[in-house]
Symmetry: C2
Subunit: 400 residues, 2 copies
């Protein structure tokens, strides 16, 4: 009995779509059925690449009877509206991180999907990366004792990559708390058990030309006694890929001698329009297509240095596996290189819809991650600890 | 004109003294005049090594007219009493970290020294290590812009090295907050400007056989807007010397293939007495002497991974210098290997007493560091942020 491919519609052919394109194109459980985007060149490219229908409006995509599920990869501030549209048409949804920009929006999305009786999965985030999922399994095996403390550091040039103005405006979902903490929090929650109790954070907005949070440090406590430090700088000159064997975020081989490239390129641009043009040059339909979306990755995706201190070992997810520092020996729990990068996110979506497997990254999970991100902003703004109340535990794997 | 050597008396010939012995023996501004210790074998060894007077009681050492300054290296809980004794006899004082176990004790020590009109220097702590001092000078040069964020991580097997029972009892000054945060806080305060505003911390006491804090993570905010993450594990299996070019805390060359040595050695001991005996085997007069105290160091001392994010560069103090990650290039600001390890602490003491140079690590400085350490314990115990009120800025270098 062959399980039919999931007919997926893409809402938004931007950066999120480009990053997932190699996965979407290669995943055996997916057929790209349609897409919506306001840019005609993107629509044209999609039709050429996939022989599929395209729409200008997400509403029309959601109404397409040939679409079973919608991947909502539109700008952050439109996630709620587009998820509600998909729900209203009875579609399953994969929504990009950050899930939304407020808890109210997250709750509305969960409610809409529940009313529709359809699946909601939130991703891709780096907590889908195989090394973190494997570390979680190792923790669940109880071979390494209780999780006690997590440390997560990531130093990148995120803020100096080409940006659209809205990406530098927190009120529109810009800045590293929405864009990057959404990854780091998801990872730390996955490894720590999910249920964060308190957040104390500080954020840095240090470049008036790029007026949004570009860095943060936070201390999280969990209801099970675990605590975690998360530190991120998108203003960084130091590059924490050094601590990941010079493997990049997407699993690509990094050249340690390439230094300062993002700032150097940006220094050549003068005006915001020029920068937006630079960004558009790497957009689908304008320079990029299926043909040149081939994965750069030779290792697994990652999100910087992560160390999970357990009673019996420290676990360090790495691009090629999980480095285990046990009492008497140190070894790599190896992972095969990814044949399809980021496939885990589509496995989770297809697994839920086609096989009734409980997803980890549900709406409730995504909302709990957003609650931490929003608490980080609030804690930093008001200089005080924030207590949480919408947290979710790591779901047990298995069938429903 | 020759400046006479400072006649120093040693109160306590324990581990602190052993760690400073290569420095004490080699420093051109110091003469070891006397020592006090309850252990006869230690006194005998001191007389043999230095042809100097020894006492059983610290009070008698302090009364010795041939002693100009006392190095108080007795167990933490006796620091106040011994500093007050030294002050009462008009001696200058170098007191080991942690300065004391309460702010009241710190204040009493400051007051006693002030009344006596003598110098009080608090150290050694790793904030005297040349790479941190050099990083502070580089920050003061204003070549790298404002300091914004600091990250400090240290993963060691501290808790599994041989310990006396009191070292595993927080009420007697045991645990890593008193012993190790005293270093890390001193470093982070030095680099961040000194004036901490708030502390939120969590501590871990995860091994009932060693019932004290063995790990912590803390978020500090400073009055100048700087924020810092400090994470330490003395339960660690992972070893952060990996991030310091496999150079150890004392500047010694580490062998990455030596793994798990502390736990393995400890596993062979059965009873606390056996462990104490193991510890005593590396004590002055019982196995150790001047002759075998030769510095292992070929690089500078360090305290794990430290990264200072400035507007113009990230500064990473390393055992061989300060690694600078600037906008367009990355380079090492090199430091000559130390001829005398840890000499900076005695330079500061001698500089103050003989040359009127303002010390950085005054009583007020040490008290401010202890306030942060105590706030970490309080924050962890009561699950809340603690605001500080006894902070001190980094003193400007120079003559008084």
């Amino acid at each position: 009995m062959t399980v039919p491919r999931l007919k997926l519609g893409i809402a938004g052919l931007g950066r999120g779509f480009m990053l997932l394109l190699p996965t979407l194109a290669a995943h055996p459980g997916i057929r790209l059925a349609a897409a919506a985007d306001p840019r005609s060149e993107a629509r044209r490219q999609f039709r050429a690449d996939f022989d599929a229908t395209t729409y200008t409006e997400v509403a029309d995509l959601c109404a397409d009877p040939d679409v079973e599920a919608v991947y909502v990869a539109t700008p952050h501030q439109f996630h709620r509206e587009h998820v509600e549209l998909a729900a209203a048409h009875g579609k399953h949804v994969l929504v990009e991180k950050p899930m939304a920009l407020s808890l109210e929006d997250c709750q509305a999305m969960i409610d809409a999907m529940r009313r529709a009786g359809r699946w909601l999965v939130v991703g891709h985030s780096h907590s889908f990366d195989a090394p973190y999922l494997r570390a979680r399994e190792m923790i669940d095996s109880q071979d390494f004792g209780a999780v006690r403390m997590i440390s997560a550091l990531n130093y990148t040039d995120f803020l100096y990559r080409p940006r659209r103005p809205e990406e530098l405006d927190t009120s529109q979902g810009g800045g590293v708390v929405f864009s990057q903490a959404a990854h780091q929090v998801d990872i730390v929650r996955l490894l720590g058990g999910g249920h964060v109790q308190s957040v104390r954070a500080a954020t840095g907005s240090w470049d008036s030309a790029r007026p949004t949070e570009g860095a943060y440090s936070a201390l999280l406590t969990f209801d099970n006694g675990v605590f975690a430090n998360m530190t991120y700088s998108g203003f960084a000159h130091f590059d924490s890929d050094e601590f990941c064997g010079w493997s990049g975020e997407l699993g690509q081989s990094r050249d340690p001698d390439q230094y300062g490239a993002a700032r150097a390129r940006l220094a050549e641009t003068q005006a915001p329009e020029e920068e937006a043009a630079l960004k558009n040059a790497r957009t689908y339909g304008a320079g990029l297509s299926l043909a040149n979306s081939q994965p750069q990755g030779i290792a697994h995706n990652h999100f910087g240095f992560v160390l999970v201190s357990c009673d019996g070992a420290d676990l360090r997810p790495m691009p090629h596996g999980v480095q285990v520092y046990a009492h008497t020996r140190r070894y790599l729990e190896p992972l095969s290189p990814p044949e399809i990068p980021r496939r885990e996110v589509l496995d989770e979506l297809v697994g839920a819809i086609r096989h009734g497997c409980r997803p980890t990254h549900t709406g409730e999970w995504g909302m709990a991650t957003m609650e931490v991100c929003l608490a980080m902003l609030e804690s930093a703004r008001h200089d005080r600890e924030v207590m949480l109340s919408h947290q979710a535990s790591v779901p047990k794997a298995g069938m429903l």
